[in-house]
Structures are given as structure tokens and as C-alpha cells.
């Protein structure tokens, strides 16, 4: 195989797939390097046509995995640790990382072609003008070098391709985009939404914006993608291609051009750098199966290996010019590690009068966008939080498996309809802290010889204050929404809030205008290395409160367009 390419894309997840599609469609010979195995679309690893009784061990992973310390992080996540989706998550015993004992960090990864695009939450939310201005306004972190207006056309570009089912809500804090018909709210969710609208001007309960197709376009149909049929088995892989993933959308689009080469089981060890030309020359990889090393050459390198994965590779890319990691003259590489965090979970019974029900398994929740961009009178913190919420179905009496009760009496109640239960999970914006950081472990290496990543990050006083306010706010909103039996659980100050739990890790190679304080410029191009780009979560200078994948994709498409123009002009 020819090992020279126009562009090398490291990673094949949400952003890697986008970089590959954009470059291939612009006529560039593109190599995608994926550390994990090949996973075929609609292949045997997809479990989306298995009924509950057909799942291996009825969904329960073999106990010896836990006993032998496998999948520690995923087991802590709970609901993802099942045999229908386990194949799409990395085992942290095989791919270890470390953290200070008192600051556990949850790093959930997907080491296969498609990465976490196979298992992502599919909530696609634009950032607002205020989100991009936040760092500059309150002085925390590195000011964003781009604005909402810079990204808006690229949001549209991405939304049209991936398919976003959403309602045009007309909110300044959550701009509308190119939408397909939205999923509908349940009777109870509509009830709460209407009640909140009567009480508040700034707090809204909306239907989530989902990357599940509800009205396929010609382009989507040509790629073999179909309408979502509300199975909500997305994390198992979707044979209909109804939710956006690398396998269902960007990879087939890139493959159609004839410009794409994909290598799997190839772990990028480092970005190679020429001290004389001051350019990245390619990547060095370790064969995951044989441990053999080889190199690929490229005119431009796009890092799309996930926020922390990219940071790990960049820190390990040492040279005479960059003894502390490539493109790290600022010393900012590995710093400002961030993640959404939750500290409040609340629920309540919705007091509706009519005896209504819901049918089907909607693949998206409802959402209360951040309403605290501007510091309000009652706030002793900066930034804000939103809530991921749901009352998709009526509750029903569960079997007494974990409480007293056997025999006919207990059995006859099982499945009886109960009230609609509304649940809300806070998603808070952590401030960008320089000392929340990731470094290479000084001694420990993984089985392929890569230094493991040590992640030292925590929430601080501002986030703790947010938790307290979020608890007050959600209780008030549940009352205003028409709920009873309200339960609000807030994490006390004494208890650690693990970052990474929402699988929204960001930062480590932040964008900024100043080369002395940031790693990337406004085009996601390394200040120090003109042909090196980072467009995954590592580039983020703040987290806002919205799920970040849509922004990653838009940033990637924008940066790829910029890099393509440089390549065409022979400037890279």
C-alpha cells in the first residue's frame, strides 16, 4: 500500500468521519487511521434486531469480567454495561489510564472503526453567541477566536447531511438550524412545557434535537439511510442507518469518491515532525495485533482521536523543537481539561388529569436549555446549566425483584400503569481551569508501549455553587410544571463529582488567538505547526452546556474547508 497521502486523519469517530468525507469529496487522497478493529455497518456486531430474550446472557456481561477488573469505568456508568453494546466500548484494563486517588475521572472510549459515533447520545444542539463569548466576558480560560457567526453556516452544512429531527423553538440561547420534523413530546412533557411557559420567559422545556432521521433526504437515501422507526436501540448499531454515525453516513460518502483509505488496528504513537521544515510529516503507528511499527506520510494531519486521545498522542510526539509535545510552545497542551458535570437529579409525578399513554421508544429526551448565561441576582457563580429531562412513558409497577413480595399478589400488580414520572438531570458548564490537566504517566505504559494518560481534573467552588442553585431551580420548576412527590438529589460538597461521566470530555489543545496561551488558532490549525489540525473535543476552549458533538462536526468541516484551500494553493 502506498503510504503517502494528501491528508491523514487520526481517528474515525464523529470528527474523523467528517474530516474524511470533506477531504475526499474535495478530491484529496485521504487516509483514516483507526486504532481499533474494523466494524462493518450492518455487520454481526450490530445487535439491533435482538429481542430482550435473545441477548447474550439476557444482557448481563459475564461476571468474570468484573471479577478480573475489566470495564471498570463502564461498569460505573451502569446502563451501558450490557451485552448488547459492550462490544463498542473499550476495556480500560486493556487500555488503562490513571488519575489521582481522590479525583476519579471517567474516560469512556470506543476503540473501533466509528469510535463513539456508534454509541453517542445523538442530542445535537447548536451553541449560541453567548456561549462563544463566555470566556472573554468573565475572564476564565482562553477567549474563543471564533464566534457563532463563524460557525453558523457550518452548523447548517452538518445538519443537512446528518439529519436533525427538531423543533424550531426560536430561542436565542439555542439557535435553530436545518431541521427535519421533530419527535413529539409525550402528553406529560407537553403539560409541563405549557406550565413552564406560563411561569417563565427564560426557561423552556423543549423536545430534544436528535440526529435520528424522521424524513430522509435524497442524499441520505442514496447513502442507504432510512427513517428512524423508534426502536431506541441506537447504542447497538442501527441497520437502518437511521441515526448518524461514521458507518452510516460519513464513511460511505467518503468511500464513494474513491479517495479514501482506511487502516484499522493501527495505533498512532506520534505525529512525526521535521525540525528543519517545521512541518508535520506524517504519523508513526503501532500495529495493534503485531506491535510492528510503520509510518504514513501526509501533507496535512487532522487529529480526530477524541479530546483526551488526541492530547495523549500530541504529548507523546516529542522532538528537538517540541520536547514537551508537538505544537506545545505555549505550554498549554494538556491543560484546560473539561467535561460537563451533573450534580443534581430530580424527579416528580406529573399531575395530569386525563388517562393518556405513549407508544414506541423515542430515541431522544426532552431538554431545558441553559437560562443562566447572564449572571442573575440570585447567583453567586458564573456560567450556567441546563437539564436533560424525560417523561416519555407512564411509569408502571416493576416486579418485586429487589423488594419483598412473591406469589400471585405481587405478580398481578406488575405492569400496572402508574403516574407519568418526570426526571431531570443537570448538565453544568465547568469553567476552564489551567490546572485541570492531562499528562503522560512518567512510568506506566499500555501493552502497546504507549505511555498512559494521567488525568487530574475536578470541579471547583464555582461548580459546587451551581449544583446548589440547580437543585433550587429544578424543584421550583417541577412545582411550576405541575409535579408532586418531588425528589431532588444534589451531590453534597463532601462528595467527589467525577468528570467524564457524561462522556463529554473537552479541552487540552484549546483554540485561541494568542500563540503564547493556546495551542490552536481560529482555524484549528496549530499555532506552531501549520499543517497540523485538531478538530475533536480537544480544541474546545469552553464547554457551554449543550451536548458538544454537533459543534465538533461543524468545527471539523470548517477547518477541513480551510485546510483544503491551503492544500489546493500548495501552501501545505
Amino acid at each position: 500500500m502506498n503510504n503517502e497521502f494528501d491528508v491523514i486523519v487520526v481517528g474515525s469517530g464523529i470528527t474523523g468521519g467528517w474530516a474524511a468525507k470533506e477531504f475526499c469529496e474535495k478530491g484529496f487522497k485521504t487516509l483514516v487511521v483507526e486504532r481499533g478493529r474494523n466494524v462493518k455497518h450492518r455487520g454481526p456486531e450490530y445487535k439491533d434486531f435482538e429481542a430482550p430474550w435473545e441477548l447474550q446472557n439476557r444482557g448481563m456481561p459475564a461476571e468474570e469480567l468484573a471479577e478480573n477488573g475489566h470495564y471498570t469505568t463502564l461498569r460505573q456508568k451502569g446502563h451501558l454495561y450490557r451485552t448488547d453494546a459492550l462490544q463498542f466500548f473499550a476495556d480500560d484494563k486493556q487500555s488503562p489510564y490513571s488519575f489521582p486517588k481522590d479525583k476519579p475521572f471517567m474516560w469512556v472510549r470506543g476503540h473501533q472503526l466509528g469510535g463513539r459515533s456508534l454509541t453517542w447520545g445523538r442530542q445535537v444542539l447548536r451553541w449560541s453567541k453567548k456561549d462563544f463569548q463566555a470566556n472573554a466576558n468573565d475572564g476564565h480560560g482562553i477567549p474563543w477566536p471564533i464566534s457563532y457567526d463563524d460557525l453558523a453556516p457550518w452548523y447548517s452544512h452538518v445538519e443537512k447531511f446528518i439529519g436533525v429531527a427538531a423543533n424550531k423553538d426560536g430561542l436565542e440561547t439555542l439557535p435553530d438550524g436545518e431541521f427535519q420534523p421533530p419527535w413529539e413530546m409525550s402528553y406529560a412533557e407537553r403539560f409541563i412545557s405549557d406550565n413552564l411557559a406560563k411561569r417563565y420567559k427564560d426557561r423552556h422545556l423543549i423536545i430534544g434535537r436528535s440526529a435520528n432521521i424522521t424524513q430522509p433526504t435524497e442524499e441520505q437515501l442514496k447513502l442507504g439511510r432510512g427513517k428512524c422507526l423508534a426502536r431506541s436501540y441506537c447504542r447497538r448499531g442501527c441497520s437502518f442507518g437511521a441515526y448518524f454515525s461514521t458507518q452510516s453516513a460519513t464513511l460511505p460518502a467518503a468511500q464513494k469518491t474513491g479517495n479514501l483509505t482506511v487502516v484499522t488496528d493501527a495505533i498512532v504513537e506520534r505525529v512525526d515532525y521535521d525540525d528543519k521544515t517545521r512541518r508535520a510529516t506524517g504519523v508513526s503507528v503501532i500495529d495493534a495485533k503485531t506491535l510492528e511499527k510503520r509510518q504514513y506520510k501526509g501533507r496535512a494531519i487532522f487529529m480526530c482521536a477524541s479530546a483526551l486521545g488526541t492530547v495523549q498522542i500530541l504529548l507523546n510526539s516529542k522532538s528537538a523543537t517540541f520536547p514537551n509535545g508537538i505544537a506545545n510552545s505555549s505550554g498549554a497542551l494538556g491543560h484546560y481539561i473539561m467535561s460537563h458535570f451533573t450534580g443534581v437529579v430530580a424527579s416528580g409525578d406529573v399531575q395530569v388529569e386525563e388517562d393518556k399513554f405513549a407508544f414506541g421508544r423515542r430515541p431522544i429526551a426532552t431538554y431545558i436549555p441553559n437560562y443562566r448565561h447572564d449572571k442573575l441576582m440570585d447567583a453567586d457563580f458564573v456560567r450556567g446549566f441546563g437539564f436533560q429531562t424525560t417523561a416519555q412513558h407512564r411509569s408502571s409497577v416493576s416486579p418485586p425483584a429487589k423488594r419483598p413480595g412473591i406469589g400471585i399478589e405481587g405478580k398481578e400488580k406488575v405492569g400496572q400503569s402508574g403516574p407519568w414520572k418526570f426526571r431531570a438531570f443537570m448538565y453544568g458548564e465547568i469553567l476552564p481551569y489551567f490546572d485541570n490537566m492531562a499528562t503522560l504517566h512518567p512510568t506506566q505504559k499500555d501493552k502497546w508501549g504507549m505511555p498512559i494518560l494521567h488525568i487530574d481534573a475536578e470541579v471547583k467552588e464555582n461548580e459546587r455553587k451551581m449544583v446548589k442553585q440547580a437543585a433550587k431551580d429544578i424543584e421550583e420548576m417541577l412545582i411550576a410544571g405541575g409535579c408532586s412527590n418531588i425528589v431532588v438529589n444534589a451531590v453534597p460538597d463532601s462528595k467527589h463529582i467525577p468528570l467524564g461521566k457524561q462522556i463529554h470530555e473537552m479541552g487540552g489543545a484549546c483554540m485561541g488567538s494568542d500563540p503564547n496561551t493556546s495551542v490552536l488558532n481560529e482555524w484549528n490549525q496549530a499555532h506552531d505547526v501549520a499543517n497540523l489540525f485538531v478538530t475533536d473535543g480537544a480544541c474546545m476552549s469552553s464547554t457551554a452546556t449543550q451536548n458538544p458533538s454537533l459543534t465538533y462536526m461543524a468545527i471539523t468541516a470548517r477547518a477541513a474547508n480551510y485546510a483544503a484551500n491551503l492544500l489546493k494553493k500548495g501552501l501545505m
Binding site: 446472557n57 461476571e63 422507526l229 419483598p404
Partner: protein
């Protein structure tokens, strides 16, 4: 997996009152007596009514298979110990072999254990009972028999339907 079931070992005069399914052959993991016990406990926990019970969903037989494909050595040992002590306790408390007790007495014995299990969190036997119960319930309520209305491909989502509309959708098996 097929099991040879026989009541031949039970005295004739007790057959009608026992309502017991006896396994004659060893299963994949449990021996015949353990299988008989496990099956009977499951059947009493989730009896057949107008809806299928644990016998219909073969919860105990599937548990036996999971002991091989899923369970760790600790869990295997825990289940074996539980069944053994379950039988011994019955003999100590009721001066009778559990399998020779009437269905009513077996139910009463199990109800007592069930109530104690959620009050005493230290007894290894009761902890094992809760584990067994949890597994049987999981296997039954994830079975085809217990989920006659399950639809793999709903076709869409409607969040505001009446019960009549809902039943009509279930009848046609698609939105």
C-alpha cells in the same frame, strides 16, 4: 435444552397435593434435585395465573444455563450453597423434606424467607436468596412469555394516545 421430568419418585398419594415438577436428569450445572428445587422456588415466586409464570418462561432452566455461560465461580458456589441450605432449613424448621411438603407449606416457607431477606442484610443465606430471586425475576421478565406485547420495531412514537388507541396499536403491532 430439554429436561426429562418425572414425578415417579414422589409417593403416589402425594402427587396431587404437591403440584411439583421433578427433574430426573442432571442439567448443565445443577443436578436433578437442585434443578427440581430451583424450578419449584421460581414457580412459587412467579406462579402461572392468567399470565405466564416462571415455569412457562423456563426461568430456572435458563438460570442453570447462565450458571455455565455467565456466572463466576463465586456466584456458582453461592447458588449451590443457597439451594443446599434452603433444603436443610426446611427440614430443620418443618421436620420434613421440602420436596415432600404441600404447595401451601412450601409457599409459606418461602414467604417467610422473603420477608426476612429484606430485613436481615447480614445472613449469607438470605443474601444468596435475594440474589437468586433477582436472577429469577430478571430471567422471567426478560422472557418472550412475559412480554407478549413487546414490539421490536414500533415504527414511530406517539406520546398522547388513549388506552383504546394504544390497544389498537398493539393489535396491529406497528404504529
Amino acid at each position: 435444552m430439554l429436561y426429562v421430568v418425572s414425578t415417579a419418585v414422589i409417593p403416589f398419594e402425594l402427587k396431587s397435593s404437591l403440584k411439583l415438577t421433578v427433574f430426573k436428569s442432571d442439567a448443565s450445572f445443577f443436578n436433578a434435585e437442585q434443578m427440581t428445587l430451583a424450578h419449584d422456588i421460581a414457580d412459587i415466586m412467579i406462579p402461572k395465573t392468567h399470565t405466564p409464570g416462571a415455569s412457562d418462561s423456563h426461568a430456572a432452566q435458563i438460570l442453570d444455563e447462565l450458571m455455565v455461560s455467565w456466572a463466576s465461580l463465586n456466584t456458582q458456589q453461592q447458588m449451590l450453597s443457597f439451594l443446599s441450605e434452603f433444603k436443610d432449613r426446611a427440614r430443620d424448621l418443618h421436620n420434613n423434606d421440602y420436596l415432600l411438603m404441600t404447595r401451601e407449606r412450601r409457599l409459606a416457607y418461602l414467604v417467610e424467607i422473603d420477608q426476612n431477606a429484606f430485613e436481615d442484610t447480614t445472613s449469607p443465606f438470605l443474601i444468596a436468596y435475594k440474589r437468586f430471586k433477582e436472577l429469577i425475576f430478571h430471567l422471567h421478565y426478560t422472557s418472550k412469555e412475559a412480554n407478549p406485547e413487546f414490539i421490536l420495531v414500533p415504527g414511530g412514537y406517539k406520546g398522547d394516545v388513549t388506552e383504546d388507541e394504544l390497544q389498537a396499536i398493539y393489535k396491529r403491532q406497528y404504529l
